[in-house]
């Protein structure tokens, strides 16, 4: 026992406190070559409506893409897309094209952005604070263009669910009243516990603590949750437990048997877009 306690006390003095949260972000290079030639013809956009922007987020610069008329922000519904854990917005250009044609060509304005360390956005995403600051930088711009809560739709894909949760729970300067959670995670603890099979909390390896279940319990607006039961990145059971904490004004599930994390690719654009469009219009 003396040996055990001696080791324990010694170990307290040694940790370097490296944090895996930064390493979990798969940010990488981007080209931002947003052109119709990369899109299926049905998702072509008016290239004059493609706007690459950047905003300050703390000491860093965040790059964002807006597809639509800038003036449209003051009058129309705007979809803010929080993308998943891929290197940059490049990977979601096709998604942008789809949203730009949702309900008709440029019927809705569409915006997405790269978190710090993704694409051209500078710095490094490190956790809840950096993700919240990046989100706020983009929403501040939308607010400056007179976007109001009743015309904001937030669509969060996978990693995007992490900043979307706290934002929906009251952390957004434009209150969220319509939220789509597509293949969301659940809690940071669940990731740790699914990896180890033990009751270890995520604080053992990271300071990035998130709890989408609690966020959904605090979110009062409308929620559409989309998930495949065969998702091997964001496990279905725990995502379900988190999303069903929602206690807001409207709740809708779109569950797809045997479908995986690449939900749009698995179920097809028509079903994917139709489900989201119905939710926006309701």
């Amino acid at each position: 026992m003396r040996l055990f306690f001696a080791l324990f006390v010694s170990a307290l003095l040694l940790p370097s406190c490296a944090d895996v949260s930064a390493a979990m972000f798969a940010g990488g290079d981007g080209t931002y070559d947003f052109k119709n030639e990369w899109l299926d013809p049905e998702y072509h956009v008016d290239e004059s409506k493609i706007h690459l922007m950047n905003f300050r987020s703390d000491e860093d610069t965040i790059y964002a893409l807006y597809v639509g008329d800038i003036a449209q922000i003051a009058t129309d519904t705007i979809i803010l897309y929080l993308h998943g854990n891929a290197s940059s917005m490049d990977n979601f250009w096709e998604t942008a094209g789809l949203f730009a044609n949702l309900g008709g060509a440029h019927h809705y304005g569409f915006m997405m952005y790269d978190y710090r360390g993704f694409g051209w956005s500078t710095g490094r995403s490190t956790g809840a604070e950096s993700m919240a600051a990046d989100y706020d930088a983009v929403v501040a711009y939308l607010e400056s263009q007179d976007l109001t809560s009743d015309r904001l739709v937030v669509v969060a894909n996978s990693l995007g669910s992490l900043p979307a949760g706290p934002a929906a729970a009251g952390g957004s300067r434009i209150a969220i009243n319509k939220l789509v959670m597509e293949v969301p995670q659940s809690t940071s603890n669940v990731i740790m516990q699914n990896a180890t099979g033990l009751s270890l909390p995520s604080s053992m390896i990271t300071s990035y603590k998130f709890d989408l279940g609690k966020n959904m319990a605090d979110y009062t607006g409308e929620l559409l949750w989309m998930h495949g039961t065969a998702d091997d990145v964001a496990p279905f059971e725990t995502a379900e437990a988190a999303m069903q904490q929602h206690n807001g004004s409207y709740y809708q599930e779109a569950i797809y048997q045997d479908m995986g994390h690449g939900l749009r690719w698995d179920i097809g654009d028509e079903e994917w877009a139709g489900t989201i469009l119905d939710f926006i219009r309701r």
Binding site: L7, A23, A26, V190, S199, I205
Partner: protein, 220 residues
């Protein structure tokens, strides 16, 4: 530009450390040391993630308190790097002596303690195991079964906890005079599916993980 589905997104090596750091420690002592004998060693676990192996480094010290009982304590350096203190301690007892080809059996018990240096969250996992071994001269072959017990399984989110986390292993050790070399193959927590986002953990029938562990120790 590339347009890859999210399932094709790359996994960073550090993400895999989540699994490596917390769930993988090799068996320290199989055959109890002689009374008064010390053994100090370094271990490198190599659990499989995706198509490769990644190192988990640890160290341990053991002392024979009698010819039938050896106390040990260890520390996982990989966990320290991530901000968690992970130490272990316990005792190995000789249970049934080896007789010819009939294997000897030893029994171990102890615990693993984790503490986060971020919020001081603490977990303690008692563990027990049984080892069958064949020792001939400097050669030791073993087959072992071990389980961690999770007394705080109810603290896991969304009822994902489990009370036991068993593992099976087989290994070879060369204990020659003052030095011991160790290699062990281990199947980890083989009663549940382990999962890391955007990573693949090679498993046995879809359950648990597996890995190869190496160790080098000196006896004095």
């Amino acid at each position: 530009m590339s347009y890859k589905p999210l399932t094709m997104v790359r996994i960073t090596l550090s993400l895999a450390v989540i699994f490596l750091a917390a769930s993988c420690t090799p068996t320290k002592i199989i055959v109890p040391l002689e009374q008064g004998q010390w053994q100090v060693g370094l271990t490198q676990g190599r659990p499989q993630i995706n198509d490769g192996f990644l190192p988990v480094l640890g160290g341990y010290a053991a002392k024979g308190v009698s010819d039938a009982r050896t106390n040990y304590g260890g520390i996982q350096f990989s966990s320290l790097l991530l901000g968690a203190v992970q130490v272990e301690g316990g005792q190995v007892r000789s249970w049934i002596p080896q007789e010819g080809f009939k294997p000897g059996v030893s029994w171990s018990y102890g615990g693993q303690a984790f503490m986060s240096t971020r919020d001081y969250a603490f977990r303690f996992y008692p563990e027990t195991g049984i080892n069958a071994y064949w020792k001939k001269g400097p050669h030791i072959l073993n087959a072992s079964a071990n389980t961690w017990v999770d007394p705080t399984w109810f603290l896991a989110d969304y009822n994902r906890g489990q009370i036991i986390a068993p593992s099976l292993s087989a290994g070879y050790r060369l204990r020659y005079k003052w030095i011991e070399a160790q290699v062990e193959y281990k199947m980890l927590n083989s009663i549940r599916e382990l999962h890391i986002p955007q990573a693949y953990i090679p498993s046995t029938a879809g359950l648990g993980g597996r890995g190869v562990y190496y160790g080098i120790a000196i006896n004095f």
